[in-house]
Assembly symmetry: C3
Homo-oligomer: 245 residues x 3
Amino acid sequence: MFKATIDADTLKSSIEALSVLVDEARFKISPEGFTVRAVDPANVAMVSFELGSNAFDEFAADDCEIGLDLSKISDIFSVAGKDNKVSMELDEMSQKMSLHLGGLSYTLALLDPSTIRAEPRIPQLELPAEVVLNGKDLQRAVKAAEKISDHMLLGVEDDAFYMEAEGDTDRVRLDIPRDQLIDLRAGDARSLFSLDYLSDIVKPASKSNEVTVEIGKDFPVKIGFTIANGVGKIGYLLAPRIESD
Amino acid sequence: MFKATIDADTLKSSIEALSVLVDEARFKISPEGFTVRAVDPANVAMVSFELGSNAFDEFAADDCEIGLDLSKISDIFSVAGKDNKVSMELDEMSQKMSLHLGGLSYTLALLDPSTIRAEPRIPQLELPAEVVLNGKDLQRAVKAAEKISDHMLLGVEDDAFYMEAEGDTDRVRLDIPRDQLIDLRAGDARSLFSLDYLSDIVKPASKSNEVTVEIGKDFPVKIGFTIANGVGKIGYLLAPRIESD
Amino acid sequence: MFKATIDADTLKSSIEALSVLVDEARFKISPEGFTVRAVDPANVAMVSFELGSNAFDEFAADDCEIGLDLSKISDIFSVAGKDNKVSMELDEMSQKMSLHLGGLSYTLALLDPSTIRAEPRIPQLELPAEVVLNGKDLQRAVKAAEKISDHMLLGVEDDAFYMEAEGDTDRVRLDIPRDQLIDLRAGDARSLFSLDYLSDIVKPASKSNEVTVEIGKDFPVKIGFTIANGVGKIGYLLAPRIESD
């Protein structure tokens, strides 16, 4: 059993955050809310997503797992106006979900969860440095780097967070000192990442005023932020690239 | 003889409404105004258009018929600013029309009306159900349906107007009860239409607060609305598709 | 030696004005400021550009010449916000330029000026007619002409400036009488130009309230305007096409 009502905008942000890595996802539903863990087809990045039942106006659910085609849900929201509520109800017999949104009623066939790649195990990493900053700053550096290179360094140095990209002849760097960051736990950190992934990930992150970036030395980066006033949590884990120099 | 001045915006809306079905049109001009009747190349939809002489700031005409390339006129208006007046004058000798618009003077060669498909006979249909609603509601349902299918049902049931589309696995439906419609004459009505045509037709219709939709049982739909404060009338007639089930 | 700080917007406008004709340019730097003279690859149009040292917040330079890839600079500014200052510093040893802009630091490799086409000699032309008008008016006529033809006449007749384009069957003309111009020095002037070039040139010109157009009879046209409150000057010289009639 699953029946819920939520701000269309919150659900839309959630779907967008997942869509940057996967097209289909298994949603684990329990009385406590939703969780999704997914890994991109190339095994380079993972996303974990939680949306507590208190993010919903109405929420009633037993434990169950459903498979959703994220692009179909995005299509539905592309027609929705602002300030809409969406209500959802699962019909377990027919394996369909009904959605009501701005007067429109949708009946969507669910995907068989067993046909969707299994949930990845999210590795427990203790990363030495942690930076908290505005998502816009992160996005600005990534956009600048894309003009020059296809990968980007993230690191901590001299009590500042830096992002740097180097092309064949040119270089761009953004240093953000501690006093311009929301928070900084300095540590030995410098890792290189693919801009293909980073630019997808910073799109949803750029809407958050407070993005947490955890980095190490040639280790994966963790990029996390909340949605729906902290009730929803989105976290990405992106594998590093090897620096050749 | 034909000489007239009109709001550029009114003429632009008129041309757009015709352009959804045809590229070239025969305009019948008389002292009472303009009329156009045209059928799309595939014979699936017709448009009828009337613009009374009182829609014009200035209008002087004898009976005549001219052929216009609608895309050329659209090009001209794409350069025009808002709040412009356009004045037109026919030169019968050279078969050219001059247009003055925002300081620019155009001289356009007319098309020989005999090279444009003849006016269709618009069938007189008595359709059992009639719905009057905001064009935006019509467009919203059509946009939602396009994501799922290439055809759409329009019908009346239980004192409500409904639009429904069904894809291979999914379904979307919009029910608008009588109290959310401007007017409803209930009757036995349920017909299926091509979304290719419907989505073109609802584009100009969506700008009108009051669109009249007349439907029957496996019969063509009539979609009508006015422009220029009621002085211009646009009506579409779209043939139904056969429901296979 | 070269070190300077300037409004990002002023530098951006300058680069855009050059970019309509060339991808790479030689900048002559002196204690008085910047100058660039360049000719397009097809030898049809020239651009001359001057930006005085007083356009800068800070400016210190010896005589030198640097080669810049304009598209790289445009990329950098595409990331910049409004109201930014950009500071530049030349490193002659490494032949690199560093730019600081909105917190970002760029290090750009310079091009070897000798690999960039030499500065053209700008011919000294005494053109009989001169028109001063708003850049928007010029752009409007060019946009209208593009719909109809690939070349356009500019001329002066009966105390008015006119622009005219003629397609296979259609014609568009804009006449601007003296009282709607900022200034007019009438003279024998009527020349035909390629709209490919004119439409590129009017893009930056359209942002200026006061564009000077000098024309003759089958002679090149000079189109000039200022930026940065008159401290920067941009001038184009476009060769005429032969009228075949």
